[in-house]
């Protein structure tokens, strides 16, 4: 009885929350799904935008800070990038290193270039938190060949 009452209470609260959300919707137009102007690679967004979009400029450090943009404004990434662009590196299961697929794009930041068998031991000691987001709980089947 108590369990049913709590379920009803949760349902009522969720319905109320949904109603609040619907009423509170601002009514403005959604962001475009594609960038209206064709963008060449490594765009400098700050050349045209002076608001939050300026932070999306693909300067040489963008590889380090792109996680912040993705956490807050993924839909802005999708103006130019399909999901497959992200999935090339951020995958559930992947056998090819991103740097193997893109040897013809040496300007792109890719952490596994060169002899990564030796380097991964060093990176793992220096900052394992830099490996963890991609390999901590997923995309680690190749790692598990040695690290069971």
């Amino acid at each position: 009885m108590k369990n049913s009452a709590s379920k009803i209470l949760v349902l009522v609260m969720l319905t109320a929350a949904l109603a609040v959300v619907i009423v509170a919707c601002v009514g403005t137009a959604s962001m475009a799904t594609k960038h209206p102007v064709a963008v060449e690679k490594m765009p400098l967004c700050s050349a045209c935008h002076n608001d939050w979009r300026a932070a999306l400029s693909h300067t040489t450090d963008f590889g380090t800070r792109h996680k912040f943009s993705a956490a807050q404004q993924k839909r802005a990434c999708n103006l130019c990038h399909n999901d497959s662009f992200c999935a090339d590196c951020h995958a559930n299961k992947e056998e090819l290193k991103p740097s193997d697929k893109y040897k013809d794009s040496p300007e792109r930041t890719m952490p596994h270039r060169g002899d990564y068998i030796s380097q991964h031991k060093i990176d793992g000691k220096i900052n394992p938190a830099s490996c963890f987001p991609c390999h901590g709980r997923q995309n680690n089947e190749r790692c598990r060949v040695c690290h069971l």
């Binding site: 608001d51 794009s105 709980r137 690290h147």
Partner: protein, 429 residues
Amino acid sequence: MRILTRFASALLVLVLPAASWAVDLSGQSRTYLQYREATDSTKLLPLYEYLDFRAGDKSETFSFHFGGWYRYDLKDESFGKDKSTGDLQYAYLRYRSAKNNAYANLGRFVVNQGVASEHLDGAAAGTDLWGGFEISAYGGIPVETDFDSRSGDSLYGGRISQGLDGLYRIGVSYLLEKNDSIEFRKEEGVDLWFRPFAKAELTGTMLYNSITSDNALTSLYLTLGSFGNLTLRTQYMDVSYKDYFTTTTMSAFLLSTPSTTGPLDPNEKLALIGEEASLSFGKTNVSVDYKKYDYDIAGSADYYGAKVAYADAQYGSSGLALHRMDGETKDLQYSEYRLYVSRKIQKIDLTADALMVKYDMEINGVKSAYTVALAGGYALSPKTKVGVDVEYAKNPYYDKDVRAFLKLVYNFDFTSAAPAPPARKKGRK
């Protein structure tokens, strides 16, 4: 290709209620053939097919997104188990409203919302609200390396943020993951973007582990500039190992505790401060950078260096980078060098990339690692490109490692015509 187009069109017609739209289909097929040798001299020749596409109506109200890959070994098994395997990276149906940036996803997709950066089989929705507020939520089954079973696994959470365009956005987020119906992860986070004036921007995230009841990670990034040609970037990160590495599916990230035998010391804490000064001269960028790694237990390490990079969308790019890692222990002392040149000549692009690392302490009796890669590509048409690259390496694990990679990339798009409206009978108003 035609079969694929028909399949996607049929799927949309079946799944979606409208019947009067033209269907846009666009995507990419990438075929890779890799040659390499395993450490036991086994020669491997895996063939990969990566396929992704998006199909939707013109208004983009409904769309279907798909990405996946399949591998078949033409010689010995690449990973000693299966001659073929694959992965469904994402496959979801998306509804997008023309108002409020409202959306709903259903299927397999990636969630990026504050603390969450997760693969999920489930549903997600979000919308903008009054007063600069945005709200989003998700729930389903986590897509992770299966280390026990997926029975009783679940993942859900959400994020609410508020911002003022051009000045700031601050978000709070929550995530709960259950493994076998038991709480596996319980995380809360704050994310921030703040631009008090045009030449200063602060962005960052903070992650709180509600199971250990302590801060797990703080990551901040400050950009100042540009002042003329100069831009300054400061990075700060701190990690508490006992709070950050609490759930993993791989032994390399296990903590050393009475119940688990892992390589990571739970009492370790890392504080990283980095600084980069960058001078930009049109297409050329010159920068010096420094990172200080401070550990509570392991001591400290300094990483510093410089790089020069040139990038031009039409002609190609080139770069030179020199860095040095100076750790307190010998195994964290090495120098690294990189030089690359990429050139586009009409339909051809050519790339040469050389990397060298010189270790202060020998690894397997070797003090240096070299890698040289040469790549060439040719655009057969605006939609089709072929490429080949060869990589030669000599390092502590290989006396001579030669790898080759062939690729064929095909971009496709297709628009089906919308059915014509039914003709009106003469004489009828």
